[in-house]
Amino acid sequence: MAAIENTSGKRNIRIDFAPMVDLGFLLITFFIFTTSLLEPKAFGLHLPDAGDGTLSPLSSTITLTMHANGAVDYLEGNETNVLAKGTAFLYGKPSLREHLLEKRKRIIAQTGNDEQYTVVIKPTAQTNYKEVVDVLDEMTITGIKKYVLMDDKP
């Protein structure tokens, strides 16, 4: 700026930048509102084909019946041979995650590995999609490799 003023000498050339700033911030505001910095992520889900299915050992199986608001009834074993049952919560205490991790410890103590650890997930009509995804996510978090999404038979 100083260089221009000195060479021309006659007039003080000064441009009012205020409208440019206005315009700049208007555009910034527009882009801030249209930007989605958080990109959606994909969560893979693989369904089993209808078939005979595989049997998992009674002691390594846990069935989660999901109710509303993240309440989950767990049942270890199967209906005719219940090893343990109770209620855990997705978003509260007693925490479902801790129960699943504790169950793994028991399976490892019993059989030496957790290869057979199977979780059967049974959402009901009161369950929200969010809770279903959260339980599936819980499987990823706790590192459970075998899990099935199943309908709760009335």
Binding site: F17, G24, F31, S36, L47, A125, T127, V133
Partner: protein
């Protein structure tokens, strides 16, 4: 100005140059960071997951369901997506005797980028809507509640038949937090019926909880 100058002794001129520099720097950042969202007819709030896989944006077939249980299908606006939309419209028109004209099929392709959620029976009158009416029109959703009349099945069947038995490369499921499980289940039933066993759910990202096996695994991989 002359009057003002008599009162004020000092000029109040502020040099805005630096301000302009900063504002345009921020502007440039946002322009580069922006990715325009495709127009959506429904508002969906996705659940969160710890998954960090990117969502594909090419050759996508997407099934959306909102909190009222309305189901929509949409195709990405790229070449493969448009081809798939065209095949679906052609085969569905033939199977259901809708007699869709080429103009209606091209409308189907156009609307399918935003989402189509009408029963097969209403499809022809739906495709007569103008662009503005399409945005205003509250689509009833593809009926899935009745297992005998799961029309998502018809759409999927038309798509897969049209593609000669092949499945679209990226099948996405875009569900709302508050949707009840039965709707999700019915969508899954239609998927299973058409041999789609592997697909992706669209979720928002969430941090991995500290101390969990997944957290330890990530830590071990980082080392």
């Amino acid at each position: 100005m002359s009057k003002l100058n008599k009162i004020a002794k000092k000029s109040t001129w502020v040099d805005m140059t630096a301000f302009v520099d900063v504002s345009f720097l921020i502007l440039t950042f946002f322009m580069l960071a922006t990715k325009f969202k495709p127009p959506e007819v429904v508002k969906i709030e996705n659940p969160k997951s710890v998954s960090s896989d990117k969502v594909a944006d090419k050759d996508v077939f997407k099934v959306t369901f909102d909190n009222e249980g309305r189901v929509f299908i949409s195709f990405s606006a790229d070449k493969e997506g448009r081809e798939n939309a065209q095949l679906t419209a052609e085969v569905l028109g033939r199977q259901k005797g809708l007699n869709l004209s080429p103009a209606e099929i091209s409308t189907f392709i156009k609307f399918s980028a935003g989402g189509i959620g009408v029963p097969v029976g209403q499809l022809k009158s739906f495709l007569a809507l103008s662009d503005e009416d399409y945005k205003k029109f509250k689509q009833p959703g593809i009926p899935v509640a009745d297992t005998l009349n799961n029309q998502l099945n018809d759409y999927l069947n038309a798509l897969i038949t049209g593609k000669g038995g092949k499945k679209p490369a990226n099948i996405m499921l875009n569900g709302d937090n508050a949707t009840k499980y039965p709707y999700f289940k019915n969508v899954l039933t239609a998927f299973k019926k058409n041999g789609i066993f592997s697909f992706k759910l669209i979720t928002a990202m969430e941090g991995v909880p500290v101390g969990t096996p997944l957290y330890q695994k990530h830590n071990a991989e980082a080392k």
